[in-house]
């Protein structure tokens, strides 16, 4: 066994002590912070803006919106019918030690019409990227994981846009249990809620120097175009973040209180709203403070977020929405009521659980893909061998077992 547990044991013990210390410290500071949230809500808006402008550069305070920052919204009624779309993605990164240099993006999606009594429709889209312009960025450097992640995120959103464009068909047009789509006229269904298992900002484009790269800009354009389609379809869109670790609202509250900020281990928005929100209630909306949000806003897709007490084990989740959802009461109802309803069974929205399952590329899938690639290379007269280093890892990766 290469992991010496005896050696790690004291470190694990220390980890536990440290976590307990941070939790205790946070629980002491939390009541004061919760009060500061209420105090900040009473500030005049211009005064609040002035204090936020004076916040230290290390802070990333959320921006206030038209809702009072201490507002709490109870669970609205769920529509009798709600079409739920969810997409998730996974990827196989390129490996220079593999037989061939490629990467793969795998997108899983589900289309579930709640209240219809029908089975949902599912899809998995696997795309192998092996062309020269896939594998190298515009500087000629090998594609990095950030760019692959960005392409995966854009593919997830494009899948949701594809689904909202392809309406569910009435029972008589369906060609089997797993469903099918045709040119037949669509049945008039209820409202649509599209869900992503992540925030809505494209993080690869969040750093200025990266956003300036043409390849990143191209992905960003595709992403924003998919947002346009989703907005125009009338659907609601939300990015669901389970166990969020952000502290943008904590930063906002501290800036409003005129506190200098600084280290506050363990004190997160999730902790703050776990105290502030009752089960199934949501917080006020806030503007996402990331710089890239300015570009999203310029294209009509400013990203806002709120915290939602799902009533499930993990408690408070962060939900990100575009401005066109935030400004539309009916779409906000869909997001709030739809997510709470879908969390009742599995703690996180059920369609996201299934989309993740459909997208996941496991170790067995990866090995099977490698075998297919090797066979294709050999068929075309190219050596299908992995590098010597990859082979040695395979030799030593499996434990030796002595049979009696």
């Amino acid at each position: 066994m290469s992991l010496d547990l005896q050696q790690v044991l004291p470190q694990v013990e220390h980890l536990g002590q440290e976590a307990a210390r941070r939790a205790a410290e946070a629980s002491v500071r939390l009541p004061r912070l919760a009060q500061a949230l209420l105090d900040a809500a009473r500030l005049d808006r211009s005064e609040l803006e002035r204090r936020l402008a004076a916040a230290p550069s290390t802070a990333h305070p959320a921006g206030p919106t038209d809702e009072s920052i201490d507002a709490r919204f109870p669970l609205p009624p769920h529509p009798p019918r709600l079409r739920l779309l969810a997409a998730d993605g996974s990827q196989v990164y390129p490996d220079r030690h593999a037989a061939a240099f490629f990467y793969m993006v795998n997108i899983g999606s589900i289309d579930l019409l709640q209240g219809s009594g029908r089975p949902p429709q599912i899809a998995t889209r696997s795309n192998l990227h092996f062309h020269e312009d896939d594998l190298h960025d515009t500087r000629g450097l090998p594609v990095d994981t950030h760019l692959i992640n960005a392409r995966r995120d854009a593919a997830e959103l494009a899948e949701l846009a594809r689904l909202v464009e392809a309406p569910i068909l009435p029972e008589r047009h369906r060609d089997g249990v797993s469903g099918g789509r045709s040119e037949a006229p669509a049945e008039v269904e209820g409202p649509t809620l599209a869900l992503l298992d992540n925030g809505l900002l494209l993080w690869a484009a969040s750093q200025e120097q990266k956003a300036a790269r043409p390849d990143v800009q191209r992905v960003l354009d595709e992403y924003l175009a998919a947002l346009d389609l989703l907005r125009d379809s009338g659907a609601a869109l939300a990015g669901y973040i389970s166990r969020p670790r952000g502290a943008n609202v904590v930063d906002l509250v501290e800036a409003a209180a005129g506190e200098p900020g600084g280290p506050r281990p363990g004190l997160t928005d999730r902790l703050l709203f776990g105290r502030h929100l009752a089960a199934h209630a949501r917080s006020a909306r806030f503007r996402h403070p990331a710089k890239i949000n300015d570009e999203f806003a310029a294209r009509g897709h400013e990203i806002q977020f709120f915290y939602l007490h799902t009533g499930a084990q993990d408690g408070v989740a962060r939900v990100e929405i575009p401005l066109w959802v935030a400004d539309d009461a009916a779409r906000m109802t869909m997001v709030h009521a739809g997510i709470v309803e879908q969390c009742r069974l599995t703690g996180v929205p059920y369609p996201l659980v299934r989309a993740h399952e459909l997208a996941l590329v496991g170790q067995d899938d990866r090995r099977a893909l490698d075998r297919l690639v090797q066979a294709a290379l050999i068929r075309h007269g190219i050596s299908g061998l992995a590098s010597q280093k990859a082979q040695t890892k395979r030799w030593t990766g499996r434990r030796r077992r002595h049979r009696l």
Binding site: L112, G117, R118, T346
Partner: protein, 203 residues
């Protein structure tokens, strides 16, 4: 009863995960409507595809699935979620089959095969035409009766019923009578088991 059109073709019901001369196990994820039946016949290639081992399915188990367990333990699931789990989401199943013989490209041999199927060999259910051909002889019965720790009587009853269904209506009774007689002959020292088997067939 006429077999449904879907049942007239061989269906992939698993891939071999472990095997021996006496039988093989197969795993696959499939939706509930496609599940094979207890007592059904299947085949898997062996000897590099030169032969097909014929197996009798004596166990079907649904492997542990954390998501299904979570849903079962929660509130009453929404109808659409229940339908998703039952008809859309593949279930991880394992089937166990007893080797009853093999086909070498020309005819059936009712004995243990020279080699087992290989790992990941596709396991197909036998379509009705092949079920009729294989069960035209009941020479496979000794292998079933000799198999240890299997619910042999229930297994044979299920096999006979499925084999009868694969035949035209007019031939079914004659097949069941003939199968019952052959069992009575082989189990002549054990009248209790013969009675059990006949009762199962009548049920």
């Amino acid at each position: 009863m006429t077999p449904s059109p879907a049942a007239t073709e061989a269906r992939l019901i698993g891939r071999v995960t472990r095997c021996s001369i006496q039988g093989f196990a197969g795993g696959i994820r499939m939706t509930e409507p496609d599940l094979p039946a207890f007592g059904g016949l299947c085949r898997a290639p062996a000897q590099g595809g030169r032969s097909q081992v014929i197996g009798l399915i004596y166990e079907i188990s649904i492997e542990d699935d954390d998501l299904a367990r979570q849903l079962a333990a929660s509130d009453v699931p929404q109808e659409e979620v229940r339908l998703d789990q039952q008809f859309v989401r593949p279930i991880p199943i394992e089937i166990l089959a007893l080797s009853l013989g093999y086909h070498d490209g020309e005819s059936y041999t009712y004995d243990l095969p020279p080699q087992p199927p290989n790992t990941l060999a596709d396991i197909y259910s036998l379509p009705p035409s092949e079920v009729r051909q294989f069960t035209a002889s009941l020479a496979f019965l000794p292998l079933v009766l000799a198999a240890p720790q299997l619910p042999t009587d229930s297994l044979l009853a299920a096999t006979f019923r499925l084999a009868a269904q694969a035949r035209p209506e007019s031939e079914r009774r004659a097949f069941l009578v003939s199968a019952g007689r052959e069992c009575a002959r082989l189990l002549s020292g054990d009248l209790g088991r013969v009675n059990n088997l006949v009762r199962s067939l009548q049920g």
